[in-house]
Assembly symmetry: C2
Homo-oligomer: 198 residues x 2
DNA sequence: TATTTATATTAACATTGTTCACTACATTTG
DNA sequence: CAAATGTAGTGAACAATGTTAATATAAATA
């Protein structure tokens, strides 16, 4: 019974890894049951022995990518930053992750996975993701009386909707039309939202 | 030769109308060649005599819906409003349109039509849409020295990315999870961006 | 009227997700 | 050890998608 469990988890892992590779490399549009299974080295029907359906599999990828993204941000942000500077840097790193893996942005924010996600737990995780990443820094700002609790919430929400909206345009519609313009706009507006003077 | 033109345009119109009805009613996910053709009263392959492919048809819908949306906003916003108040009201009306027709939001901002849209002309139209709607009001604000030209651009961009991001979460992920919460957050944050005191 | 042109449709193909029935193998049981 | 049971992996098949080629029918022209 324990062996079964291990083997089953291993098999699931093969499919999950394959799916993640495809999303990272070829993007979300390239995902298909047959595609995943081929890369995993199994027939496409075998996948259904380990996942209810393809959404079930994708669902797991979302969770994995969230951890990966958090790690990516931690690696990219200078450790000694605190407060607003840390929040800005983390938001930039957050966007960089999706610039590097546009397929994961699609998966997180664009793709209609509402059907699969009946309990909405993952949706909430994504919704609060940037806030969780920046939570301690906001608390730091509040303690130092740089902002009130309410302001912190407002700024946080604004930051999230702004960066998501901007990424949506840039990744999905190529507007702004080049990368430099994108970063300039991004950095400037993050500064505006956080009321930072550069 | 002229008759041909009229007839051809009429035929195109049948398919376009059918497609728009489906998008408005059942949402973008319900769109399919067979679905459109059935509603138009023709066989599905007939569609290909009038449109290069389904993207070509959808493309026309985008343009139509843009006009419709502009009209919707004009109808909903009080005529006597000017400046910041007009901008806020128009942005709210803008979001209301997509709340009413979520399928059109998908079409405008979510769906990957980048392939079809080789010249990117439509993309740019969408990108600058809210700005065009509010253009005169911004100019009004600048003339009255309420904001500088640069501030107007910043606020405008922020407004657009914010409202798009918020709609993306609300329509695509049901976050915030109820409508009242959505409007409260929306109205408050629009005020913040425009630095209005309520 | 007969021929040509245009147009609507039927048939077909490729690609998607998913289900079903079968085979081969492993595990348990007598 | 042999027989029964169960399980894991697979190919065939189905329905729905977009798209194309060939065909039949309607319209226009000679």
């Amino acid at each position: 019974m324990d062996k079964k469990e291990i083997q089953e988890q291993r098999m699931r892992g093969y499919f999950i890894e394959a799916a993640k590779e495809i999303i990272r490399g070829e993007g979300f549009k390239a995902i298909s049951v047959r595609n995943i299974a081929e890369r995993a080295g199994y027939s496409y029907t075998t996948l259904y022995n380990y996942f209810k359906d393809i959404k079930d599999l994708i669902f797991v990828c979302v969770k994995d990518f969230q951890d990966e993204c958090a790690q990516f941000i931690a690696d990219q942000v200078k450790k000694d930053l605190t407060g607003m500077a840390a929040i800005k840097s983390k938001t930039i790193a957050f966007s960089n992750y999706f610039i590097q893996y546009p397929g994961i942005f699609e998966l997180f924010y664009v793709e209609k996975i509402s059907d699969l996600n009946s309990q909405q737990s993952t949706t909430k995780l994504i919704y609060s993701f940037l806030d969780r990443i920046c939570e301690e820094d906001w608390n730091d700002c509040i303690e130092k009386k740089l902002v009130t609790k309410e302001e912190a919430e407002d700024y946080g929400a604004q930051l999230q909707f702004f960066i998501t909206g901007l990424l949506l345009f840039y990744l999905n519609r190529r507007q702004p039309s080049d990368y430099k313009e994108f970063t300039t706009l991004r950095d400037k507006q993050i500064g505006n939202i956080l009321k930072l003077r550069s």
